[in-house]
Amino acid sequence: MQAATKIARRDATAASGDPVAILELKGDISSASKEGMLQAYHAAGPVKKVLLDFSGVDYINSSGIAIIIQMLIEERKAGHRTIGIFGLTPHFKKVFTMVGVAKYATISPDEASALAEM
């Protein structure tokens, strides 16, 4: 009964000139999203910078946040990617900060500022 997460990938360029893969997330992010989100993350290719766009996300629970943490764990192990986040509601920005995600991923208000910071 958990709603699906839709994930689309598009490309952008960071202010530094580096290519960035933006993963647009839409719908709900819960335990049911794990496989699809990690697949999309792995399929982002050799880019060193990945942005997660939450502006189309309606609902995220602690299992959904754990998927983001899983991505950060992989990034930390491999040491080859930077993850940024934008488009969170003020509430979820607070929640991501509470659980510590903001310590390991830059949280920006929108795409333009996220690209400028990368």
């Binding site: 958990q2 609902y59 299992s63 930390r76 509601t89 509430h91």
Partner: protein
């Protein structure tokens, strides 16, 4: 809304139905005059309490329901989330992001921490026999503090 008003919802023990409890809690809190940001806090706390009840309390057993009782009392909204589990044996430690990133702690396990952080009161109780419940409270007084 009259003081002492109460609403009860029964959810199947299946993930996803916590959103029904979230919507109901949001509607009740809105009627009581809570601000949008407090309603968002409550929605997340109620969702996490229901997920724990579905997953750990009722262990996804489709013969069991999760009960959600919302009651307005003076300036507070109380939410009880009831399951058929044995309740908590101990309160888990607060999540530590550094340990999670280092692989020393499960990336999950943040639900209870979020509940405790987002509402004014959170208590876990055993009983009545065969049941356990979590009681959450948010207060209107905090809106003005």
């Amino acid at each position: 809304m009259k003081n002492g008003s109460s609403v009860e919802v029964r959810l199947p023990s299946e993930l996803g139905f916590e959103k029904i409890a979230m919507s109901t809690a949001a509607g009740m809190a809105s009627l009581m005059g809570f601000s949008e940001d407090r309603i968002e806090d409550l929605k997340t706390a109620v969702a996490e309490a229901c997920i724990n009840a579905i997953e750990h309390g009722n262990k996804f057993d489709d013969r069991l329901d999760v009960g959600v009782i919302l009651s307005s009392n003076d300036d507070e909204l109380e939410v009880k989330v009831i399951d058929d589990g044995g309740g908590l044996h101990s309160t888990p430690a607060s999540p530590n992001i550094d340990r999670k990133i280092a692989g020393e702690e499960d990336p999950r396990g943040m639900g209870m921490f979020l509940i405790q952080s987002l509402v004014d009161e959170a208590e876990w109780h055993k009983g009545p026999p065969g049941k356990s419940f979590v009681r959450l409270v948010i207060r209107l007084a905090k809106e003005n503090s």
